[in-house]
Amino acid sequence: MGLKQNLHNFKVKNKDKKWIPAFNALFTFLYMPNETTHGGTHVKAADDLKRTMNTVIIALVPCLIFGMFNAGYQHYLALGDIESAKGFLGASFWTWDNLVIGIIKVLPLVIVSYGVGLGVEFLFAIIKGHEVEEGYLVTGMLVPLIVPIDIPLWMLAVAVIFGVVIGKEVFGGTGMNILNPALTIRAFLFFAYPTWMSGDKVWVHGAVERAGTPDAISGETLLGAYAQNNTLAGIDYWDMFWGLIPGSVGETSKFLIIIGGLFLIFTKIGSWRIILSTVIGALVMGLIFNGVVDAGWISETSKFYGLMSVPFWQHLIIGSILFGAVYMATDPVTASQTNKGKWIYGFLIGFISIMIRVFNPAYPEGVFLAILLMNVFAPTIDHYVVQGNVKRRMKRLKAKVA
């Protein structure tokens, strides 16, 4: 009672100060505000934006924790210090040593992402005199999960500033942006520092510094290997499904992503239409490529052969297509906003992702580019869906007049 009253008095006393949005942002995390309804409906439903964003974060936490263990596991596995885990509950996976690497390498990514991103948000809120909006809560969690483990922290900081300012604030803040901010950050990193974002060195902790030395370890992802018509030794489908493979920090465990996706669908926070249609789109494109291979149109020497001949369903468990479908494509602000539009939007994301994956061997993961591309087209899709409704109305009028 005392704390609440003190904070309230402090808020009232300083309500004209420029920095009050910053204080309010912290205050409202502790206490839901005492605002009451004026005009309009006198009661409101329980959900607010904080709760919505929080639900997505909860869905992401298992991926983060898994990613921390996986960081150490991949590191020691590549060094040959431990046995492969053989299954999700494998003894060599959930170990303290693995977690320590995770804490050293992954936690700083989270802290930098949140620290820098929220700093920018607070700054803009104070400059523009509005409340701090919650949009970055999810973005800040996504960013560490979609970057390679060894990325230098200053790069991440630069990218976050770029992504939040150019990707979101210039459009007017949360709810107004056209491109998914997390993917804008990743795209910035990808084009500004390509050597840190792709290739066969960056995906396992320690691979970069050991490159060229006698201790060199491979830091390659499965996709990279497939793209070069190779396979990685010692990885079976279950490893891919459980996530015991190298990759961006949090996107390897398909199992936990599916759990998170089901949670989002159950809570009605994530759009099941987008998730489902993205998966369908990816499968359809995979089937088409399988058909091309079966028809013998490309030979085994073709550089596309490796990924094109992957059985269609395996596309879902390699790379980050599932992560993109569940956590990125469903961002309501940048996705299509109509239900029909969501089907089209999701389908095209899946379709184009696999297409890029196959046709771009230099950088085989196409999900983030596909989502960014469809972000741009989402308003167009919506426009045509809404026009359907408008046309129906016009037709009704014409039928009356005639």
């Binding site: 609440k4 309230h8 409202t28 995390f29 502790l30 206490y31 839901m32 505000p33 005492n34 605002e35 009451t36 309804t37 004026h38 005009g39 309009g40 409906t41 006198h42 009661v43 409101k44 439903a45 329980a46 959900d47 607010d48 934006l49 904080k50 709760r51 919505t52 929080n54 639900t55 409340e131 909006e133 919650e134 949009g135 007017g172 803040g173 949360t174 709810g175 107004m176 809570t267 009605k268 926070i269 759009s271 239409r273 309501p332 602000v333 996705a335 906003q337 109509t338 239900n339 969501k342 919506d382 809404v386 409704n389 408008v390 129906r392 109305r393 016009m394 009704r396 009028l397 009356k400």
Partner: protein, 450 residues
């Protein structure tokens, strides 16, 4: 071609404090007030100056743009105060009621008279304001000829007065009123009744009955219009509240403007929710304290239901169009970690650690807290789940916000009223004022297009 209407999209907001079906006569209010703001977009021209004695049914003011449209006093008494706002706008006309009520005789109406005569009579006797029109959701323009008239005989709003109960035994007045109204349109008179109810409308002639079922807003007249015969550009439909038909009917039968109305007194702050017989404009304080709310309780008194009603002070008055007074607790307190802890005692359409989906029959005690701060539109697809009209709710709201008249028109602005957006406002995660946005959009169209 009576048609059954069954809607699936919507949400029943079940609240504690439903009115029990017993009617008491409210303590007679000494003061009555008529507030011109109830009549949206009407500019009043005052007739009854301060100190004038009026009979019940005598003109208080008329519409400046349409002088034949009179607004009459609900009671006989003395006009004691004209409350004015900025620029001498009339805020309220206060009348101190006589002990003995004295009615102005408008004359019994000849049932075989023509539509023109009906119109004149309703305009002169103060019954016209009960007729509203769409587009724009304003008092009907008497010069138009509506393509149909719609009446909802089924109230689905939270804690609404049960029309089957309040209109019981008024079949004669209702029939007289619908007979007269039917003459004003070339089309039909559509009335919706509840699927299971025993509506006084069901026995009437001269009307088309539609049985509606499903969650709120199944009983909204806007839903009925959209499902039967949506408003196209250039068309007009009229709507009348069911309880006001009784007043119209009685006026036609007896010549007396009897503003009596049975209202529900409901809400979780009310000790014994029940029905009252009272009059339009009656002071709320005459009803709410007897077996009702605590004198110094921290409550909100609403003239109307919790979704569309107006907040009134205890010395405020029942407004012209409502038949409910709802009292619910104010929610002006902070809630520790209210945004992330599991919620069992509030309604939600999501399942984001909100558990109202577990128990759809449970009745809730909601307060007026906004449960979060105002934000830009972020979440999509949730409005559609509670919005049964064939309109894209979020798109039309945004069109209103950026004032694109062509787009508003194309998206169906002629068909809607603010109350149609009450549910989307209730569930809005960004706490946007949907009804206000629509009202302002309609006002803009009215001004620009007319």
């Amino acid at each position: 071609m009576s048609k059954d209407i069954r809607i699936k999209k919507g949400l029943d907001i079940k609240l504690v404090g439903e009115a029990e079906k017993t009617t008491e006569n409210a303590i007679r209010s000494n003061f009555y007030s008529v507030r011109p703001e109830d009549f949206h977009s009407i500019i009043p021209k005052l007739v009854a100056k301060e100190g004038t004695r009026v009979k019940a049914g005598e003109t208080l003011f008329y519409n400046k743009d349409y002088e034949d449209m009179k607004f009459v006093s609900p009671v006989s008494g003395e006009v004691t105060e004209i409350q004015r706002g900025p620029r001498r706008r009339i805020d309220a006309i206060k009348i101190t009621a006589d002990k003995e009520q004295d009615f102005l005789d408008h004359g019994t109406f000849d049932a075989s008279a023509s539509g023109e005569k009906v119109k004149e009579h309703l305009l002169a006797s103060g019954c016209w304001p009960f007729i509203k029109q769409r587009p724009y959701d304003i008092i009907a323009n008497p010069e138009n000829s509506p393509k149909a008239i719609f009446i909802s005989g089924y109230a689905s709003a939270p804690l609404a007065a049960d029309l089957d109960y309040t209109l019981q035994g008024k079949e004669k007045e209702l029939q007289t009123a619908v007979n007269a109204l039917a003459k004003l349109t070339e089309g039909d008179l559509h009335i919706s009744v509840g699927q299971n109810g025993n509506s006084p409308f069901s026995g009437l002639d001269n009307i088309k009955i539609h049985k509606v079922s499903g969650p709120h807003p199944s009983g909204n007249v806007g839903t009925l219009i959209n499902k039967i015969d949506p408003v196209n550009k250039g068309e007009v439909v009229w709507t009348v509240n069911a309880q006001d038909l009784v007043i119209i009917g009685e006026l036609l039968l007896t010549g007396k403007f009897n503003a009596e109305r049975i209202i529900a007194f409901a809400g979780s702050s009310v000790k014994k929710p029940r029905y009252f017989k009272t009059k339009i404009g009656a002071e709320v304080a005459t009803m709410i304290y007897d077996n009702g709310v605590e004198k110094d309780g921290n409550d909100r008194i609403i003239s109307g239901n919790v979704l569309t009603g107006k907040q009134v002070a205890p010395d405020g008055h029942l407004d012209y169009y409502n038949n409910v007074i709802t009292v619910i607790p104010e929610g002006d307190d902070y809630e520790f970690f209210g945004w992330n802890k599991p919620v069992f005692d509030k309604i939600s359409t999501s399942r984001a650690f909100t558990f109202s989906w577990l128990n759809p029959k449970k009745k809730y005690d909601l307060n007026t807290n906004t449960n979060g701060e105002h934000r830009a539109f972020v979440v999509t697809g949730n409005y559609e789940e509670v919005f049964p009209l064939d309109i894209y709710p979020m798109q039309i709201l945004k069109a209103c916000m950026y004032k694109d008249l062509d787009e508003m028109e194309a998206l169906g602005m002629y068909e809607v009223a603010p109350e149609d957006f009450a549910l989307t406002e209730f569930i809005c995660v960004s706490k946007q004022p949907h009804q206000k946005i629509i009202r302002e959009g309609l006002d803009l169209m009215l001004k620009e297009i007319g």
